[in-house]
Amino acid sequence: MISIIKSRWILWKKHWLANSLFLFLPVVATIITMTLFTNIQEDSKVPIAIVKKEDSPMADSLYEAAADLPYIRLFNLSEKEALIKLERHELDSVFVIDSGFAEKIKSGARNRLITGYSNHGSFAYTPIKEMLVSYVQTLTAQAKTYYTVDQMAGGKWTWEEVTEKISDIQTEQQLLETTFHLNSIAGNATNEERNRNLWEIWGYFMFISIFFLFDWQIKEKKTAILSRYAMMKYSYQQYVFFHTAVYTFMFVSICLLSAAMFHMLYEEKITFSLLWSMVMYTITLSLAASILSAVYRSVYVYYWTVLLISGVYLITSGVIIPTDGIVSAYPVISLVHPVYPLVQEKYFHPLVILFLGLFLVTQRKQKYF
């Protein structure tokens, strides 16, 4: 095996730059795509400013609640600055938390707690206003509870103790709701969505990387050189078999590297089932690429075939257009498309059995001499 690796190295290093580019493509291109993806998302967020004229925990909590909204980008500016930017249409809308905010809530007042500014171009003004108002209502409800509790308990508990207790209860309830939500509409939570995207993109680039690097089998299938294998230690079949193994091993290393990188960058949880799925996916594609490249004699015809297949792969994979509808109508797609067992972290990949069988059969059938 050492001699196989050495012989591979001699051929590999001649085109080390292009080879390495293709080898590391799944890691590099996935990170680039993900960055572009999140940047586009960031750019498409609506810019909003919240001006805090008061520095109280209650004002902060309102600000935090707004910052947690998914489709807005929040700025903390001075009132003057914010209004100038609103004028220039650099901001969609501006909300000012007036001074005395906390006091007014504690005393049960509801008027003029927040001032909202919008101009004719604003389209997020109303929904955000609604959200802020409902949050303020939660705060005033908490205030009411406090005074009721306070009266009943005779002033033993502080404001903070009561509100903390209330928000603890609320968090618990929210957690329950979230869990329920996840189970009922699986995969719709934002976190889950992103995860799926990442692995679909990685799967696609892995496909490109594996199939394009397997052109070695076509390049090394020169008739004159083939005749040498009749007198060498390895027959041509063994040569192809071992080099397919070397390439597969290389791609599996890229799997591990990808997993480590995505764990560091995107805090992906690396589980055994994920690693298993990645490795199975890689082996499936390596075998498929080995079988396909064994058929071709011209690299260019092979490249075009691979591009064509990669187009079909991309369309049916769900990366560009959502395919949930198509897949539930034709469940066979999730069986013949290698990316589905990958993103669903299935232990059983039906294709790997098929390709392994096919690989062994073609290996035995191919008589070069």
Binding site: I4, L11, K14, S227, R228, M231, M232, K233
Partner: protein, 225 residues
């Protein structure tokens, strides 16, 4: 130790190339294989090199039979194909290294270089692309010799190369023969055949070749019917 070919036949479909061909080759002997274009010289050599199979007949080398002892025989045969079987993108050194890795015999860099030098192939680090035709031919031979084969089959090793390289290759083949190797090689050059070969094997249907070699001082090895 000896190569024995008995009643060998080969045809491509209806096109019969040779039939009932029998001959022997002894150690230390250089046998020239001659015949017109398309006579079947390359076909015969590739059968002897186990690249192709014969339709009928038996071949034994060193008492080992081609049908049953394939694995053992692979080590003992060196074959230089008519077309260059080398990597154009690699250097001479890398070509030697590559094929040495896949070879039976482990040879270190010094030994590989020595093998090239014996054939006056000095351009060790040069990429094959930029070598002359003669140099490429020499490399093509050197690669086939890495595993020290007993039987060396060369298909037009000297075609299209200059007189000097041709002489150098010839001298090297003589040296190998003197070490006890069996050599069969094809050529279309009469002078070369005269100076190198101990015997000549003439195949093909054209009587022209048979007539020439009947008159030549080189003894005949076999004449198919």
């Amino acid at each position: 130790m000896m190569l024995i070919v008995e009643k060998l036949s080969k045809s491509y479909g209806k096109n019969m190339i040779f039939d009932n061909l029998s001959f022997n080759v002894h150690p230390g002997e250089i046998v020239g294989l001659v015949g017109e274009n398309g006579a079947g010289k390359s076909t015969l050599l590739s059968i002897l090199a186990m690249v192709q199979k014969a339709d009928a007949g038996t071949i034994t080398l060193n008492h080992q039979c081609y049908q049953t002892d394939k694995k053992e025989l692979r080590r003992q045969i060196g074959f230089v194909p008519q077309d260059l079987a080398i990597w154009e993108q690699l250097s001479v050194k890398e070509n030697m290294q590559f094929f040495a890795q896949l070879s039976w015999v482990k040879k270190d860099m010094a030994e590989l270089k020595e093998l090239c030098l014996q054939m006056q192939l000095e351009k060790w680090d040069e990429p094959v692309k930029s070598l002359s035709g003669g140099m490429k031919r020499k490399l093509n031979i050197a690669i086939s010799l890495i595993h020290d084969p007993h039987l060396l089959l060369l298909d037009e090793p000297t075609a299209g190369i200059d007189l000097k390289s041709r002489t150098e290759i010839g001298r090297y083949l003589k040296q190998l023969a003197s070490q006890g190797k069996m050599i069969i090689y094809t050529s279309h050059d009469m002078d070369e055949l005269r100076s190198l070969c101990d015997r000549v094997l003439c195949i093909g249907k054209d009587p022209f070749y048979k007539n020439i070699f009947h008159e030549s001082p080189i003894p005949f090895l076999a004449i198919p019917d």
